[in-house]
Symmetry: C2
Subunit: 458 residues, 2 copies
Amino acid sequence: MVNKRIFLNAFDMNTPGHQSPGLWTHPDDESHRYKDSSYWIELAKLLERGRFDAVFIADVLGTYDVYNGSRDAAVRQGAQAPVDDPLLIVPLMSAVTNHLGFGVTSSVTHEHPYLFARRMTTLDHLTNGRVGWNIVTSYLKSAAVNMGRAGQIKHDERYDIAEEYVDVCYKLWEESWESDAVKLDKENGIYTDPNKVHDIHHEGKYYKVPGAHLSEPSKQRTPVLYQAGASPKGRAFASKHAELVFIGSPTKNAAKETVRRLREDIAKTDRSQDEVKILTMLTPIVGKTEADALEKLEDYKKHISHEGASALFGGWTGIDLSGYEEDQVIEYIENDAIRSALESFTSIDPDKKWTVGEIKDFVGIGGMSGYIAGSPEQIADQLEEWVDETGVDGFNIAYAITPGTFKDFVELVVPILQERGLVKHDYHGTSLRDNLFEQGDHLPEHHPGKQTGKELVK
Amino acid sequence: MVNKRIFLNAFDMNTPGHQSPGLWTHPDDESHRYKDSSYWIELAKLLERGRFDAVFIADVLGTYDVYNGSRDAAVRQGAQAPVDDPLLIVPLMSAVTNHLGFGVTSSVTHEHPYLFARRMTTLDHLTNGRVGWNIVTSYLKSAAVNMGRAGQIKHDERYDIAEEYVDVCYKLWEESWESDAVKLDKENGIYTDPNKVHDIHHEGKYYKVPGAHLSEPSKQRTPVLYQAGASPKGRAFASKHAELVFIGSPTKNAAKETVRRLREDIAKTDRSQDEVKILTMLTPIVGKTEADALEKLEDYKKHISHEGASALFGGWTGIDLSGYEEDQVIEYIENDAIRSALESFTSIDPDKKWTVGEIKDFVGIGGMSGYIAGSPEQIADQLEEWVDETGVDGFNIAYAITPGTFKDFVELVVPILQERGLVKHDYHGTSLRDNLFEQGDHLPEHHPGKQTGKELVK
């Protein structure tokens, strides 16, 4: 039995088809409403009612074009295409909620940190301290090319850039403005004491930012830091900086191994294990009864698009499945890269021989992390099992259909989790970070964000 | 008598002290609430009630540091410092209104057009076609330096960059996605017809963008284009691209001359004069009676900050007033740059000899464009005179105190303008552009935005 609370994050994207390619064709799916303010406003209210900690908005700056060497499949199937900006929907959602947090994805390779730092401070102002940043290094070549580069920057160098990028941001957020710089002293005519605003003097390999932050400090100063890198460099970065780490695995065994490695990496740092929460992605298909859930699942399955699944799979793994027949068995495919990339599937059931078509079916609901289906009690039980057996702290809940999946979860599963003491009945914190860690609004003292250039603040 | 409607734009910025330095110290001023969602939500509702066409959010990416060679004056006086992001407040305001438009400032020298184009399309989606873009080339050296450049790009080259930047945006907005590309065909499983999404193949001097727009078309496709450049290069750019041009002059004579020059430049293009509206900045101080207004003005004047005025004046003109005594008369100052920069003031009253202190007083309310004070009828009369005598199409209304100035104007002056048939009783358009020009949501056919690479769209 789980004896700690389960963290709940909703996973969405400013696009029609996020993690369940083809399910936008389901009559109840409303993901095409992503362009309308009302979709996000309703979603935010629903999630706050369900006491979710945060909603997290993914992003890509390109279109998946590995499958068949073309973006056509992704475009035709609405598979994360078209895709709109993730930051601009946050103010909409924050205006109709009081506690829900908002994680947004922004890549360190595409926008200058001086500008980005101001955007995040602005969001933290407008949300009154409820913003998180998912630090990504961008994996799509098509994105890099459209930003004027000959190709993607090499993986390891992207993490070097990321290190310097967050360093610039930390300096702007944590050190440029002292907490009592803004006086708002109408009597003496002093808005801000200029002696308490400091240049950051950043001069690095990739960025030169001599000046001060344009914005006054926000409630959290540094937004809550999210990261999802799974490579050794990515894990090292996450262990050092991230406060929430997203993982995704089709099985508990695989998740357990990822958690073990991450926890090992964190142990090598000055940070305590409590300062990093690990959430795994999962798509819950909830029925009033088990039979109801299985019926729903069969109905959803009819809407899976193999073409859309192939497009997403190609973008995520770099593997083009277009050369293979649907009934080819993976085991017999003479391509080591594909077989090794698909090994995680075989861990679901070691005896099963997966065909290419079955892989696409799997990806069709909940992407590479799969789904669970059952009655509300069964779902609650399964979540507990995941926490017990893998060591994750909670879930990044993705949708099969939206807002249906979120609605079912909030209305049917959350009350059971609350009854079991696993989800809070009310929010208690004063900011997203305080809601998550109950240690105040700011980064903990020994976080690297607190260590850079301390001498600036007298 | 004016026989056309007067266009009304509200002028604000995501900062405490916009155009009236020091007036944040007035007990009724709430500009320090710029960080709170509620300020923008209330303002948007007020302006829509007053049938304003749009609210326009200015921006700078640096701090004014010419006066005394330091940013201290601007920081101390809250003179456009601190300053938050302008785009992120738009969704807040659009969610509580149905017709009000939103102009946002974004510089062509600091963000890549591929990313920026998506941000604007996202805003146009979320606002349902109510977004405008104020195209600026950034005049502050402190901004350039913090973006990693050795210094500011030369003025004329900035306009070359601007030309290519808008060209990239036009291609992404107007030509990449055909209007019927998105099918949302649930029955046949076609979200978008990939044959109707086109790469833009842009390869220029400053940008290479081979691919397609990430977003599907928004209602207006290209946002309404605003521009405010006053130099010959700036006017040429405005004549070619802008649909709304902002000017600012302390006197009707100066405004008349600016309008004449702009109209002359427009006449040299293929565009009709109707396609470009010219708004002049003005700060109205409205009382219930004339005496009431003058009393209000005297009260406001007590809150002017000469230090803040010097900071803004330095940023705008490049002239550092710190070496001069308050009672020095401009005429006798042996500095041609200063005397020529201040010539426009002497046009207010040719016989008056302005002292440095008086100049600061003038800048203290309504910046370089001045204010008018009077009873509601007097203000309405004066607006009509401005339109009659200068040829402007309307006003960019700035505040002395906020939201007080806007509230007075909406409650006291707008009803009179409506009675006179100069301000509409209701909105009729389907988008910001349609509200302004009554010719539909899109750019007119012979606008340069419609001319680039037409062959892409079959």
